[in-house]
Symmetry: C2
Amino acid sequence: MSTPLTAKEIQDALGELQGWARDGDALAKTYVFGSFREAFGFMTRVAFEAEALNHHPEWTNVYNRVVVRLSTHDAGGKVTAKDVALAKRMERIGGVK
Amino acid sequence: MSTPLTAKEIQDALGELQGWARDGDALAKTYVFGSFREAFGFMTRVAFEAEALNHHPEWTNVYNRVVVRLSTHDAGGKVTAKDVALAKRMERIGGVK
């Protein structure tokens, strides 16, 4: 069981991220790339990070767009430190788009 | 501009596919794999096919599940032969799950 972050902790985390926002209980961002190749390349790099963290995104891809939602299953779908860690890795990979 | 398939053509195509159904104007299927690695491995192989066909899916991944929706943008979001072609390649890659 993971511990959900407090509202204050989530706000602090969002302050360190660009373009992320609350979407219900989750953290969400839409990445827009120049092509499908770039979008899927981003996803592939993130996939390895997700495996390494043993924490996986909910994400939807349509052509050059990737919509990401992060929440933690074993915290009842709330945001935990795992989501913030994955979001930060995504930001590094996605070039803060 | 691509030509939408008729209802009869779509029914015939669905008859040659397993587990696919209409979802609004699109063709849709949910693939369930044994792990995130398998699910993302499937997506990676399909990504190359999509690039080769220059026709891309709308798809959502959560852990071991991949929900796919296929329709053709330049046919007003209707189903065309391109969607059927991509669905058939997905079936071969996904092992008709």
